[in-house]
Amino acid sequence: MLITISQLIIGSVDLIAAFLLMFGLWRMASPVTAPSGILVAGVGMLAAVVASFLYVFTVDAAAKPHLPLNIGLAATALLIGAGIAWWSGRKVAITAMPQAVALFNGMGGGAAGAIAAVELFGSQTHGVGPLVVTLLGALIGSISLSGSVIAWAKLDALLKKPLHVPGLQIFNGVVLLACLMVGAYIVFAAVGGAAPVLTMPHLIEIFFGIALLYGILMTLPIGGADMPVVISVYNAFTGLAVGLEGFVLQNPALMIAGMLVGAAGLLLTLLMAKAMNRSVAKILFASFGPGKKRKQGAIKGSLKPVQASDAGIFMRYAKSVIIVPGYGLAVSQGQGKLYDFVKLLQAAGASVKFAIHPVAGRMPGQMDVLLAEAGVPYDLIVQLADVNEEFKDADVALVIGANDVVNPEARTDKTSPIYGMPILNADQAKKCYVVKRGDGKGYAGIVNPLFYADNTFMVYGDAAAVCVSMTEAVRGLGAPAAAA
């Protein structure tokens, strides 16, 4: 009776939870409804977690004697894991958001992998189909765990340079193949009764070891600017792993939530790749940068440095300004200071917009969040396709901490590594100011002809510091701007 009731309650709560999770994501379609969407999804999740403790009434006979200890362990793990993650999620700086998401995503992959490990070590999975699904979920979850940790280390600048070893991709292929073969052998040994060369636990340990290694090796050669795609891929991987383990555990809520994220991650990955005009396979399995030496044509013009204060005062009298923020702005944490400057321009009567390239930053949409943090209303933030035609009518394009996404070479030079990538047409504005720390090249390692163009002027310095100087210069003028 108790079993029936608890099954009924768990089934119904999970059903509602699955609906609320989907509905929560549905409400993400607009910044107006999105905050309530995540709350709705949170309620569903909370209900599902609470209801899952009713599983105590349905446990196997073998686990009955351990039940009190298991309940204690579950509650402890829940409190510790949730407590630490909640605290760090609240504390983490908005600029460090990509790292945080990578880490939390890796945890999900690890959890899926651990569930698979328990199933495998306990020989609870029977039949070829379920066994294959368990192993597949274990493989994908493990790759997501170790890969996400490497992605986190790269984003947190703990790992600075992408690893370029000749033949690494072939070696990685061999590692993946070895993992699949061990997996296949586990299936044969468990189902077909093939005499195992090693004991089953050892085989499973080797399987997880190779899977984790593959996640590390796969992520090491990928550079920082490709991280939006990588995070998106691992997000999809974790979703897929959760969905597969949901099938193994016969839990439809896990299947639905997991697959939903799998599809979401895939779609976002494809959008990112399209915005970079590169295939997902090329991003994951072939890194650009050093190695491919290319002769770049001679660049006409010269770099023309100007003072930040002069640039600021010029913009004070401009009618329309389009700002192109990039990763450099995030690094210098200058978003708030930039918006202070923008408010002065608006007070002086200028129309100001922020133009966002799809792959600006280290995560899809990172610039949008950064500007939102500074208090920039989202109606001032426009995406590439909606703003690109407006550059030619703009008085000033202010490129701040961005480089490759405004490189006109992508339009014209067929030999360029970024040829074909849609770019923001900052070069078409009447005047272009580029705020940069130095003469360094962008991530793609190519010189940007925009910086040498006749109407482009370079403002050297840290993005935040430059914004402060520009603000001070405009404030120094007095007049209407002083009111702000």
């Binding site: 700086a93 328990v118 208090g375 209303p377």
Partner: protein
């Protein structure tokens, strides 16, 4: 009467197919400006794996299973709580020009550390 859930191979494939399609449609509607919260939000959604972790740990019968099950719940709980905290914080920051005061209220509560990076005049 009893309510055990049993999902066979083909039913599972149907569930996966319909869900993947629904996910594609739902996510396709999300504007680029919300792509970071979306990714973080979907990251939160797959945190439901913690439910599977709890199930597995409750059914564990050996110390090894208990240890790995403990790790599963620990990691799953981190995924859920962290994913929610981060997503909720980010979404609270998105405000239209019409509601500037609401934003500062949220920012003060949610991100005291981050607020310091905004100009001293504003703080």
């Amino acid at each position: 009467m009893s309510f055990p859930i049993s999902i066979g191979g083909f039913i599972a494939v149907y569930i996966f197919m319909v869900t993947a399609f629904a996910g594609w449609v739902i996510i396709g509607r999300v504007p680029a400006i919300l792509h970071t919260p979306l990714m973080s939000g979907s990251n939160f959604v797959h945190g439901i794996v913690v439910v599977g972790g709890i199930f597995t740990l409750l059914n564990a019968s050996t110390p090894l299973e208990q240890a790995i099950g403990f790790v599963a719940v620990l990691l799953g709980a981190g995924n859920v709580a962290g994913g929610f905290a981060v997503t909720q914080r980010m979404l609270a920051m998105f405000q239209s020009s019409g509601h500037p005061t609401k934003h500062t209220k949220h920012a003060k509560r949610a991100a005291p550390a981050a607020l310091k990076s905004i100009s001293p005049k504003k703080a």
